[in-house]
């Protein structure tokens, strides 16, 4: 550049120089250029880990991991104090389910049975396709009576797809097993309305998007 530049142009040039950042290779100093110190450092790190660090492997089948309390595993259907299924067949979970894996068929509660005297409806069938479920926990949040919950069972396996569709009895047996083992205490707010049921639909709200599931 010639010396006849105006001071303004010089300032502009300076600013330009500052704002443009070139992605150059980092400067290589003398020690880096020798390579060997860096290699020795790498080997030292590797050896330090090999000999002096604690191995963090968990021997899985023998040594079960402890799941955090909010882990979302296999579902269960809770029972109330009288041993009845807590579910009142309100379809909230089925509606909330983004994976469309819950299917409930409601039936009127048997009126002649005094056990069911304070119930209006109960689920005649309650099936969850465990393979389709994405374990998001929205059914649990939607349930107004804390009937459906996700347990900390993480190693669900099966030999066929049919086997992985859990019906009401299976889901209740999951509750019996987990509550017997004391692994999963009932963790939602014990009968209080869940967050999903708190906001009621207003007349000013737009209607729900159509076509979300069979009952959406």
């Amino acid at each position: 550049m010639s010396t006849a530049e105006t001071p303004v142009a010089q300032v502009e040039k300076k600013q330009k120089k500052k704002t443009v950042q070139w992605g150059d290779d980092p400067k290589i100093g003398f020690v880096e250029a020798l390579y060997l110190p860096a290699i020795a450092g790498g080997i030292a790190t590797a050896l330090k880990h090999a000999f002096f660090k604690k191995r963090s492997t968990a021997q899985y089948p023998e040594q079960k991991p402890e799941m955090p309390p909010n882990y979302r595993g296999v579902h269960r259907l809770n029972r109330d104090e009288e041993g009845r299924v807590k579910c009142v067949a309100c379809y909230m979970c089925q509606t909330a389910c983004p994976a469309n894996c819950i299917e409930i068929i409601a039936a009127p509660a048997p009126q002649d049975d005094p056990k069911w005297a304070n119930r209006d409806k109960f689920p005649a069938t309650f099936t969850i396709d465990e393979l389709r479920c994405i374990y998001c926990g929205m059914c649990e949040e939607a349930c107004p009576v804390d009937a459906i919950e996700l347990t900390s069972i993480y190693d669900l396996t099966g030999m066929s797809r049919q086997e992985m569709i859990f019906d009401k009895e299976k889901l209740l047996s999951v509750f019996d097993e987990t509550s017997k083992a004391g692994l999963d205490p009932v963790r939602t707010n014990r009968g209080a309305l869940g967050p999903a049921s708190e906001k009621s639909m207003q007349s000013t709200d737009s209607p729900p998007p159509p076509g979300r599931g069979k009952h959406g």
Partner: protein
């Protein structure tokens, strides 16, 4: 020459070939096991420990699994070359072992049982290099026959890498040849023997050649700091992307055979082969001493193999231009200068000990030069 004489010549060779053919696959399988264990240790894991005590049978389980795998030949490959490439790769890798003594071998071959397939060959080192550079052939054929851009790109990288690193490797070995005055590996090992068993090693007056040789050899084995031909992040699997099952294992075995070959060469050329303090230098017919010398050699080789495996977890991968730069701008000039110094010392008949100091000085000077070049480059770039 009657049949009896031919048989007397033949049976030691057949036994030596049989040992190599039998041992190399097992060594390959167990090298994967050792590598997995070592990798696990470096990464704070336990590694395979389910099959057998300490997971020792894991290698066998892997082998069985791989033999039982379905043979898949993709429809778009050149079938004949596709099948041929892994065979060539393994064949050249194993052929290179023919000239390497895997136990104490005398310079003058006296017949009978021995630990080398081709004894008393005056150009065994030359044959070694001729064959080991052929192994690029298998990789290139595999990459080409796969009819896949990733494979071909891996093969081309491999080709360029082989050509580049052959040169510093050869130049650094010439120093060893000059010191020993022979290209016969047995003579080179014998020339490293001395009274105390350690002061005669080529390592002491050729440390720079050792570094250059080891670096280039590592590049020839396609292992981690230089595994550009098969780097997963860039090329899926590189030249063996289209290979599976037993054909992949042949490539894999070839790679591990290369590692073993390189370790053997490093040990034989620089670490004194079977010479060690407390072990008799001369190769005699006494079985106890032979066993001891063989043990020393194999322990040294195992050490080098473990070091190569450890390097994998100590170094990041080179970029391709860095790889080429290291060979052409770093190793080749250094090896040449080192060779010139050695030639001057040898022809004037001076003592070899100053060569070690000279090697270190040369290395430091190269580092300083490189740093200065880098800085001046940055300076120039910032001015313009």
């Amino acid at each position: 020459m009657n049949w009896y004489e031919i048989w007397a010549e033949l049976w030691p060779t057949l036994i030596a070939i049989g040992i190599i053919l039998a041992v190399v696959p097992v060594v390959g399988l167990y090298a994967t096991f050792v590598e997995r264990k070592l990798a696990a240790a470096v990464q704070d894991r336990l590694g395979p420990n389910r099959v057998g005590p300490f997971g020792l049978f894991q290698a066998i389980a892997d082998g069985i699994k791989i033999f039982l795998k379905e043979q898949i030949i993709p429809s778009h490959v050149h079938t004949f070359i596709y099948m041929l490439a892994p065979c060539i790769s393994l064949m050249t890798a194993m052929f290179a072992l023919a000239v390497l003594p895997y136990g104490p071998t005398p310079v003058n071959y006296f017949g009978g049982l021995r630990f080398i397939v081709m004894p008393g060959l005056d150009i065994s080192l030359l044959i070694m290099f001729a064959i080991s550079s052929l192994s690029a052939y298998g990789i290139i054929l595999g990459g080409w026959a796969s009819n896949n851009k990733y494979s071909l790109y891996g093969a081309i990288r491999s080709c360029a890498q082989f050509i580049s690193y052959e040169i510093p490797m050869g130049l650094s070995v010439i120093g060893v040849i000059l010191v020993a005055g022979s290209m016969n590996i047995e003579t080179i090992v014998a020339s490293q023997g001395s009274g105390d068993g350690i002061s005669g090693w080529n390592l002491w007056w050729q440390p720079l050649a050792l570094i250059i040789f080891f670096t280039s050899a590592l590049a020839e084995t396609n292992r981690l700091p230089f595994d550009l031909p098969e780097c997963e992040q860039e090329l899926v699997g590189g030249f063996h992307t289209e290979y599976g099952g037993i054909k992949f294992v042949l490539f894999f075995l070839a790679e591990y055979t290369h590692v073993v070959t390189v370790s053997f060469l490093t040990t034989l050329l620089f670490f004194g082969g079977w010479h060690f303090p407390g072990v008799p230098s001369e190769v005699t017919a006494s079985y106890g001493i032979l066993a001891l010398q063989m043990l020393v050699l194999l322990v040294k080789v195992c050490g080098v193999v473990c070091f190569i495996m450890l390097l994998r977890w100590a170094l990041p991968r080179f970029r391709f231009d860095q790889l080429m730069g290291l060979a052409w701008k770093g190793l080749i000039p250094l090896a040449m200068l080192n060779l010139v110094f050695l030639a001057v010392f040898e022809s004037l008949g001076w003592h070899r000990w100053p060569l070690a100091v000279l090697s270190v000085l040369l290395f430091v000077a190269a580092g300083y030069w490189s740093a200065w070049q880098s800085q001046s480059f940055v300076r120039k770039a910032s001015v313009t």
